[in-house]
Structure formats: structure tokens, C-alpha cells
């Protein structure tokens, strides 16, 4: 009799615990989903200034005119280099797909070679143009790819934030986990920490500035700091036009060759 009681109690406690953690999982997932589905407009054009800084304090700056547009199951993006002058008119096009496991399609146009070449890479962990952002960091990661957990709620930069930990389901993924600080009422990530395969802090992404453009919260100024290499990338967006209407033909090889008007 006593044993049955104990077992029963045990079962109740366990199931309670499971359902509680499940509830927590739900909220964390919900938060991430809200961030993921935050409206950012259909298309965007902007001038991107990317500053790379190594641990010796040397800086390199690139100016890029970029166009991006959301399609049903994909996002198209085209970039034209404005400076430095020796790579001016080099253009780069990237199509990324929502479909899981499908690699991005990428093209590059080198004006000195006068040829467009397809680049295929099997790695999502490639760094974007020598910066500290990987292609994956720049794209939106689908909430279902990770298991999320709400760590705590705290004030960060004078904003009330959720701190959510996300652990990738894919075992061989380049990060072992990430932690994101999300502003409660705006569903906007303010800071993100990336941990490497060994669980050590690898990079910290800080949002320096965000603006309300046409009812959308747009992040315009970010900084990614690789703590292990002490290498830093700043990305600043200027002259932003949201939903300005970008012609579909912009994302073609012809326009890549022609360059920015």
C-alpha cells in the first residue's frame, strides 16, 4: 500500500515537472517565434558600411549598396561594392531558401574578369566577406531548429528583456548554444552571445541602434565581436528605403553586370 502511494506521488511529481518545463519551453519558443515573425517589410534597399577591425586595431572599410526582397519561400539579395575602388562594381547575389537543408545559391560578378561565376559552398559556417558574421548569422534562423529555454527576465540597456537560451537540435552545428536578449514589447533582439562547440563564448552581437521606419523596427547599427580572435565587424545601414518596391529584374545576372545606377 505504502509503496503504491509512493509510486503514485512520484508519478505526479514527475508529470508536473515535465508539464511545467514544457510550459516554459512553450513560452521561450513563443518569444523566439515572435522575434522571427516580426514584420520587417517586403523589401529593403540601403547602403551598408562594413568596418572590419583586427586585434592590432587595423581597420578596413567597405561600402556596399544592397537590395533585398522577400519571396514566398525564399529571400533574394544583391549587393554592389562601391568602395574600395579596386573592387568597385563587384557584385554578389544570394538566394536563400526557407526549405530545410537547401543550400543558398550564390553568384559573383568580377568586373576585372567580366564574368559571372556561381559559387557553391556546402558550409553555412562560412564567414560573410571576411567579417565576423556567418551567412547563417545574417539570415533568420527558424525557431524549430533549436530548443529554447527562458533563462530569466532582466533589464538590459534600460529595456525590459527576456533572456532566451537556444540549443541547436543539429549536433554538428557550429554553435553549441546562443543566448539572446529580447526587448519585451518590440520583439527585437538587443544582444546575442554565441558559444562554440566546446561551450566557450565565441562571439557577442550587440545592436547599437534601431530605428522605426514605416512602422517597422529596423536594426541599423550592429557590432559583432569575436572574443576568441578579438576581431570585430561593424555594420551600419544608411539611406534605408523599406517597401520602396524593388523590381524583380534587380535580382538577375544582367543587373549584376550592369552595376548600381
Amino acid at each position: 500500500m505504502k509503496i503504491t502511494k509512493t509510486i503514485l506521488l512520484f508519478v505526479i511529481v514527475i508529470s508536473l515537472a515535465i508539464s511545467m518545463s514544457y510550459a516554459e519551453e512553450l513560452t521561450a519558443l513563443k518569444i523566439i517565434q515572435n522575434v522571427y515573425s516580426r514584420a520587417e517589410g517586403e523589401d529593403m534597399q540601403a547602403e551598408l558600411t562594413m568596418t572590419l577591425m583586427n586585434k592590432r586595431g587595423n581597420k578596413r572599410e567597405r561600402k556596399i549598396k544592397q537590395y533585398s526582397k522577400d519571396y514566398d519561400a525564399m529571400e533574394k539579395k544583391v549587393m554592389f561594392f562601391i568602395s574600395p575602388s579596386d573592387v568597385r562594381d563587384t557584385s554578389f547575389m544570394n538566394w536563400s531558401y526557407d526549405e530545410e537543408g537547401r543550400y543558398d545559391d550564390q553568384w559573383i560578378y568580377l568586373p576585372a574578369l567580366k564574368r559571372i561565376k556561381r559559387i557553391s559552398s556546402d558550409s553555412k559556417s562560412d564567414y560573410f566577406m571576411g567579417s565576423d558574421f556567418t551567412y547563417d548569422d545574417l539570415g533568420d534562423r527558424h525557431p524549430y531548429e533549436d530548443t529554447h529555454r527562458l533563462l530569466r527576465e532582466e533589464k538590459f540597456d534600460n529595456e525590459d528583456c527576456y533572456v532566451v537560451e537556444s540549443i541547436p537540435k543539429e549536433e554538428e552545428y557550429m554553435y553549441s548554444k546562443t543566448a539572446t536578449w529580447i526587448i519585451k514589447d518590440k520583439w527585437l533582439g538587443l544582444k546575442k552571445e554565441f558559444y562554440d562547440e566546446d561551450g566557450d563564448l565565441l562571439k557577442v552581437l550587440s545592436v547599437k541602434k534601431y530605428e522605426k521606419i514605416k512602422d517597422y523596427w529596423i536594426i541599423t547599427n550592429t557590432e559583432m565581436h569575436n572574443k576568441q580572435k578579438d576581431h570585430m565587424t561593424k555594420m551600419m545601414l544608411a539611406d534605408i528605403i523599406i517597401d520602396g518596391g524593388i523590381d524583380d529584374t534587380t535580382f538577375t545576372e544582367r543587373i549584376m553586370k550592369r552595376g548600381v545606377q
Partner: protein, 765 residues
């Protein structure tokens, strides 16, 4: 001086107690504060332009030495098991806390950039070991067609592949090495694994030398005790002589520890010097005492000590001061370990002097005169006869002796011209040791385990985007690799650009060349940054394309190979200069080359300086310039024979062998001063023949005893397991022998023939 010593000797027990307590104090400081310096960078003068530049360049381009693990499968590496091992071993290495993940390079981590009809593919060579033959064949073809990998990570015959783990200078330890060995053992069979690389060679050398010394020194001391017992024929004398050596060594190392100065590899030479010199003091003192007691059998110990201090105090002080000043001349060296070596050996010699003059008499006061196992009158007479016989013979054959000396000097001179400097670490190991064999194996299959970095410094931004400059780099690489068989391969920004150019032209071999325009170069580099790992790029060029790093892989770290390679590179200096590009060198191999040169230059200056000081000091002490010059002769001859034999036997100069010439000076001074002082004393009341005979049986005797003791001790090192220590033993013994021989033959004859101390007598007569 004599008065002070005599006064102090009124309280002999107190002296013994004070010295003992202080020594215990120094011993404690030494025990708790001493540390070995194993980081070879710390040995080099950090403000020397060559090192400053190299250290900077190492920082700019992350130039570091790598540990190399080779996996050999004689049937070929392209099978699922071997490839899987490459992956697992790579991952295990990446997980070690001493190694950063990105610093491991292998077939598993390498990017394969290949050209296709419509573009470019960036792929890992493999993610999981391919299982099917078709996939393995594809992997093989990918490697074969990638000149950035083939011959670099996979051997040309496809039976060996390597994994390279670059580490920081201060990371290596024996414990870490053992863990790597253990790790590689786990992957052994049927594949064979080899571990090599400069950090291992450097680390093992820094560890093997002292470890071997620790094992050998007790035996050396034991042999010295035995020979001392035979020579001095008294346990008490042997004990106090050793006490002088031991205490002076403890005080010296204690003082070093108190000042926080670490023990460097060259510091192991300090006890060597102190043994040779401390033993000399003891032997001269006891020898004198013995002769005095034979002459005055009824004398009390007080009388004996009074005579001892009176007769020997002056030469002991003179020899010690001169020797110390000689060692202080090493302060002119630019190399700190050598400065410290000179300074502290000088200190040790002075301490040994004080102990000899205080401890030995105090010991006699407290424990009584040594109980010599007295010679029967016959043997004592025999010895005196022997000295007399030798003196007569050498005087008789003086011209023959002179001739022989000159012949020996001429032979030595031909040898000296053949002396070469070698900064190689590998050459210090046994030819059949694991380290040397592994190195040979990897050198046979790959570019080489040693490297030389050529740092190209341009005037303007983007210098290294200019095709003209890149063409010269490419030409230089080809020329050096083709004209020196010891240069395995080379690596530079030009290789990346040639590869990109080829890839962007659908892998057409025709385009395996430098692109024509600087814009195209810039665009390829941008493309590489976008698709490859830009960190690789920063190892060959800097952020603003003003500086570039060109690496040559060499099959030897031998100075000859380095110098020949540098000579080939130097031919391109004018061509680079026209383009506004300066050439500099960097890397650990280059640094040790410069370092060894520095040591040698310093050694030459300080030997010359020491010689001058010795001549001046001896001249002042004996108030005759001619005596100073004669006194320097054995030192000069010993030094010449030392270097001559090194040249003739092909023993290269290195940090330790260069320092051995200091022994020649230290010991040479001792012998010369003792001998001349005796000669001077005896000359007062005797004619020349008697003076010679008496000096020979007094100083000559002590000198030969000293030589025998130290030679016997150091010959033990010939059985050392570490080749440089064997060399040390042989050369120290040789120097002791030539110093002794030079003093009692040629120096004696010069004294005899120059008639010093007898000229006035003749005039008076």
C-alpha cells in the same frame, strides 16, 4: 690581507659555523626560488633589431611553430579507416586546451576550392570518411589536383598524411608532449604515427640536457672525490676541497635565485667552472702544506697555517681576482644568459677564493692537520727526482719543444678556419634517436619540418596587390625551391592568387599564374575572403597589403642550409628594392641563427678583452710586462687548440661549445699565476736551475694534480646520453690538458729563456 686572514683564523669554529649557516640559507633560497628557463625566446636580447623585427612579424602573421603528426599507411591512405583517423585525431587535437581549434590543419579542416564550368566550389575534402571506392577515388583526385594540399598535407606517394597543430611559444611542456604521444599511440595500427616539429625538438632539448646533467653530475663528483683522495691522500683535505666547491656553487645559485634570475642552459656551465677552479685552489693549498710539512716535520698546525697563508694567500687571491675579471668581460656580450653567466661565475670564483683561504685553514685548526698517508722516503724522493728529470729534459729539448708547439699551433690554425657555427637543435640529438628519425621521415615525404619566413615590407598600401610584385615573389619561390634541394616547398600570397586564377578559369592549368591586373587581384582576394577562410590570408599578407610573409619549408634547421637559402633569396633584393619592397627575415629558425652569431661575436670580443685584461693584470701583479705576456701564452695556445680541434673534427660552435673557451682562460690564469709566483719566490734565494726544479716540483705538481682531477671528472661526461654534454666533457678535459701542458712546457721555457728574475742577479755577479 694576510693580517686580516690571520686575525679571522683566530676563531676557526665561528668561521665554519657562519659559513655553514649562510650556505644553508642560500640553499633554501635556491630551493624555493630557482626555476629553469625553457622558453628559448627569453634567451635572446629582446631589443636587438633582428629579434624585434622577427617578433613583430610573428605577431603580424601569426607565425608559430607547429607540432606535426604524420599518419603512415604503406598501402595508401585512401581507405575509410585511415581517413576516419585523420578526422578523429584532428578533433582530439582541437579539443586539447593548449591548442586553439583554428590552429589545427589537416585534410579534414582544409578547404578545397575547385573550379567548375560555371563557377567555383568551396568544399571540405570530406566531412565523414567516405565508404565507397568511388568516393575515395574522388577524394584522391581532389587532393591530387589541389597544389595547396598535395605534397603539403598528403605525401606525393599518397602513403602519408600530416596534421599540423600550431602552438604558442610558451605552451610546450614535457607533460603536454607526453599527452600528444599518448594520443597518437591510440591511433597506432595498422597505421604508423609519428610526432615531430620544432616545439618538440626545442622542448625536448631544454629538458633532456639538464636531466642528463642531473644524472651525470653525481658520478662526475664521485670520480673527482676518488681522484682527489688518490692525489691528496687525505680524507680531510678531500672533504674541505669539495666543501669549497659545493659552498661556492650553492652561494652562486642562491644569489641568482635571490635576484630572481632563472637558470639558463648556459648556467649549467657555472658549476663546471667552479669545480675546475675550486679544486685548483684546494689542491694548491694542500700541496703547499704537504711540502711544508715534509720540510718541517715538527711544525705545529699554527705554524703550518701561517706559512700557508703567507706563501699561498697572494697567488690564490691573484688568480681568483684575475679569473673573475676575465669572466666579467663576458658582460660585453649582448646575450643576457651569458652576461649572467660571466657575472655569477666571477662571484663564485671570488667566493671560492674566500672559502679556500678561510675554510681550509679553519678546518685544519678545528680538525687538525690532514693525516697524509705519508710517502715512504723513496717514493717522495722519486717524485722530486721526476720533477727534476722533467725540468732537465725540457730545458735540454727547448728548441724541439718550441718547434712542436709551433707545429701544433699551425695545425690548430688550419682547423680554426674550418670552424663553423651551427644553431641547429636537431643536430644536438643522437643520430638514431626517435626525434631525429621522425624528422627525417617527415622531411623525406614533405616540404620540411623547419621553416624560414621572408617578410616583404612594401612602401605603399596595396603593394602586394600589384602583379609586378607578385611576379617577383613567384619567381623567387620557384628559384629557391629549385636551386636548393634542402628547400622542400614555399608558400605565399602568390600561391593563393594562382590557385584562384586557375579556379576561376574552370581549373585550366594555363591560368595557374599571377593575374594580370591589380583590380583582378583585389577581386580574387575579395572572393577568397567570401568563400575561403580569410584567416589563412592574414598569414601571408597583412590587412592593408603593405606587408607579406613568404614561408620556405626546409628539410633541416642546420645553419648551413639556412645561410644558403638566405643567400639565394638575397639575390632578389635589388629587384624588390626597385619595386619599393624591403626583405627581412623572421621565425624561430632565423632567430636562433642570429642568436648563435651574436653569442659567437660576443665570445670573440670577450675572449680578446679577457686576454688583454689578463696580460695587464699579470703585468701589474708581477710588475713586468714580459711576465704578463708570457703568462698569456698558455691561454692563447689552449684557446687555439680548442677551436682548432673543433674545426678539424667538424664540431660546430654552439652556445655551449663557444663558452668552453672561457674555461681555457679561467684555468690558464690559475696555472700561470701559481707557477710564476712560485718561480719568483724561489728565484730570490736560488740559482736558475734550482728555481726551475723547485717550481716544477711545487706548482708543477699541484697543476698536474688539478688537471688530473678535473679531467677524470669530466671524462665521465663522455658516457652521457645527450650528445652536447658528451662534447662538453671532451672539450673541458681537452682544455684542462692543454692548459696544463702549455704551462709546464712552453710557458716554463719562455720564463727560462727570457731570464726574468735572473737578469739583475747576473749583473750583480
Amino acid at each position: 690581507m694576510e693580517k686580516i686572514i690571520n686575525k679571522l683564523l683566530k676563531l676557526p669554529s665561528l668561521i665554519l659555523v657562519i659559513v655553514l649557516i649562510t650556505s644553508v640559507g642560500f640553499f633554501k633560497v635556491m630551493k624555493s626560488n630557482s626555476r629553469m628557463e625553457t622558453d628559448l625566446d627569453k634567451y635572446m636580447p629582446q631589443n636587438h633589431p633582428a629579434f624585434m623585427y622577427s617578433n613583430q612579424a610573428e605577431e603580424w602573421f601569426s607565425i608559430r611553430d607547429g607540432i606535426i603528426i604524420a599518419i603512415e599507411k604503406s598501402e595508401g591512405i585512401y581507405n575509410p579507416q585511415t581517413i576516419e583517423k585523420v578526422k578523429n585525431l584532428t578533433k582530439s587535437l582541437q579539443k586539447m586546451k593548449e591548442i586553439k581549434k583554428d590552429d589545427v590543419t589537416s585534410l579534414y579542416t582544409a578547404d578545397n576550392i575547385i573550379g567548375t564550368e560555371d563557377g567555383m566550389d568551396v568544399k571540405a575534402f570530406f566531412k565523414n570518411a567516405p565508404e565507397t571506392d568511388a568516393k575515395l577515388q574522388k577524394l584522391r583526385n581532389n587532393v591530387r589536383s589541389n597544389e595547396m594540399v598535395f605534397g603539403r598535407l598528403v605525401s606525393n606517394d599518397e602513403t602519408v598524411t600530416i596534421i599540423i597543430a600550431e602552438i604558442e611559444d610558451d605552451v610546450f611542456s614535457q607533460e603536454f608532449y607526453q599527452r600528444i604521444l599518448k594520443l597518437s599511440k591510440q591511433y597506432e595500427g595498422p597505421e604508423k604515427l609519428y610526432v615531430a616539429g620544432r616545439p618538440i625538438v626545442e622542448g625536448t632539448m631544454a629538458y633532456l640536457g639538464p636531466r642528463d646533467m642531473k644524472r651525470m653530475v653525481p658520478i662526475v663528483i664521485l670520480v673527482i672525490i676518488l681522484v682527489l683522495l688518490i692525489v691528496l691522500r687525505s680524507i680531510k683535505s678531500t672533504f674541505f676541497t669539495l666543501l669549497v666547491v659545493l659552498f661556492s656553487t650553492i652561494w652562486t645559485f642562491g644569489l641568482m635565485a635571490a635576484f630572481g634570475i632563472p637558470i639558463y642552459a648556459v648556467s649549467t656551465m657555472i658549476p663546471v667552472m667552479l669545480i675546475a677552479i675550486g679544486v685548483a685552489d684546494g689542491i694548491h693549498l694542500y700541496s703547499h702544506l704537504h711540502l711544508f710539512m715534509i720540510g718541517n716535520p715538527s711544525a705545529t698546525k699554527k705554524e703550518a697555517i701561517k706559512d700557508l697563508i703567507h706563501g699561498m694567500g697572494k697567488p690564490v687571491i691573484m688568480t681568483s681576482v684575475t679569473t673573475s675579471v676575465g669572466f666579467i668581460s663576458l658582460l660585453t656580450s649582448q646575450v643576457y644568459p651569458i652576461k649572467y653567466f660571466g657575472l655569477f661565475t666571477a662571484f663564485g670564483v671570488m667566493v671560492a677564493m674566500v672559502f679556500s683561504l678561510l675554510l681550509i685553514p679553519a678546518g685544519i685548526m678545528v680538525f687538525g692537520l690532514p693525516g697524509w698517508k705519508t710517502d715512504s722516503k723513496n717514493t717522495a724522493r722519486k717524485k722530486v727526482d721526476l720533477a727534476a728529470l722533467y725540468t732537465r729534459k725540457i730545458v735540454k729539448h727547448k728548441y724541439l719543444t718550441m718547434m712542436l708547439t709551433i707545429i701544433v699551433i699551425i695545425i690548430a690554425l688550419t682547423g680554426i678556419r674550418k670552424v663553423w657555427i651551427n644553431s641547429s637543435f636537431l643536430d644536438k640529438f643522437e643520430k638514431d634517436s626517435d626525434i631525429v628519425l621522425t624528422d627525417k621521415f617527415i622531411n623525406a615525404n614533405f616540404g620540411g619540418t623547419s621553416s624560414l619566413n621572408v617578410i616583404l615590407d612594401g612602401k605603399d598600401l596595396n603593394t602586394f596587390k600589384s602583379p609586378a610584385v607578385l611576379e617577383v615573389i613567384d619567381k623567387l619561390q620557384m628559384n629557391v625551391v629549385n636551386n636548393n634541394v634542402m628547400v622542400g616547398n614555399s608558400f605565399s600570397l602568390a600561391d593563393y592568387l594562382k590557385r584562384m586564377n586557375k579556379v576561376m578559369h574552370a581549373d585550366d592549368e594555363k591560368f595557374n599564374r599571377i593575374p594580370e591586373s591589380s583590380d583582378l587581384v583585389a577581386q580574387y582576394l575579395l572572393l577568397y575572403e567570401m568563400s575561403g577562410d580569410p584567416d589563412n590570408l592574414w598569414k601571408v599578407v597583412n590587412y592593408d597589403y603593405k606587408k607579406a610573409n613568404l614561408t620556405f619549408q626546409l628539410k633541416s634547421d642546420n645553419s648551413k642550409v639556412l645561410n644558403e637559402t638566405i643567400a639565394l633569396i638575397e639575390k632578389y633584393r635589388p629587384e624588390f628594392k626597385e619595386l619599393g619592397v624591403e626583405i627581412n627575415y623572421a621565425g624561430s629558425g632565423y632567430k636562433s641563427l642570429v642568436f648563435t652569431d651574436l653569442i659567437l661575436q660576443g665570445q670573440i670580443t670577450s675572449v680578446i678583452l679577457a686576454l688583454l685584461i689578463v696580460v695587464i693584470l699579470i703585468s701589474f701583479m708581477f710588475k713586468k710586462l714580459i711576465v704578463g705576456l708570457i703568462g698569456a701564452v698558455p691561454i692563447v695556445i689552449t684557446t687555439m687548440i680548442n677551436f682548432g680541434i673543433m674545426g678539424l673534427l667538424g664540431i660546430p660552435l654552439s652556445t655551449t661549445t663557444a663558452l668552453i673557451s672561457s674555461i681555457a682562460i679561467g684555468i690558464g690564469i690559475d696555472y700561470a699565476i701559481h707557477f710564476i709566483e712560485r718561480y719568483k719566490i724561489y728565484s730570490k734565494d736560488n740559482d736558475k736551475e734550482t728555481t726551475c726544479r723547485l717550481t716544477m716540483s711545487h706548482s708543477g705538481r699541484a697543476i698536474i694534480f688539478n688537471a688530473v682531477v678535473v679531467i677524470a671528472g669530466f671524462l665521465v661526461l663522455l658516457f652521457s646520453a645527450f650528445p652536447p654534454n658528451r662534447m662538453l666533457g671532451a672539450l673541458v678535459s681537452l682544455n684542462m690538458f692543454t692548459s696544463f701542458l702549455g704551462t709546464v712546457s712552453i710557458m716554463f721555457l719562455l720564463m727560462y729563456m727570457s731570464n726574468v728574475y735572473f737578469k739583475r742577479k747576473k749583473e750583480i755577479k
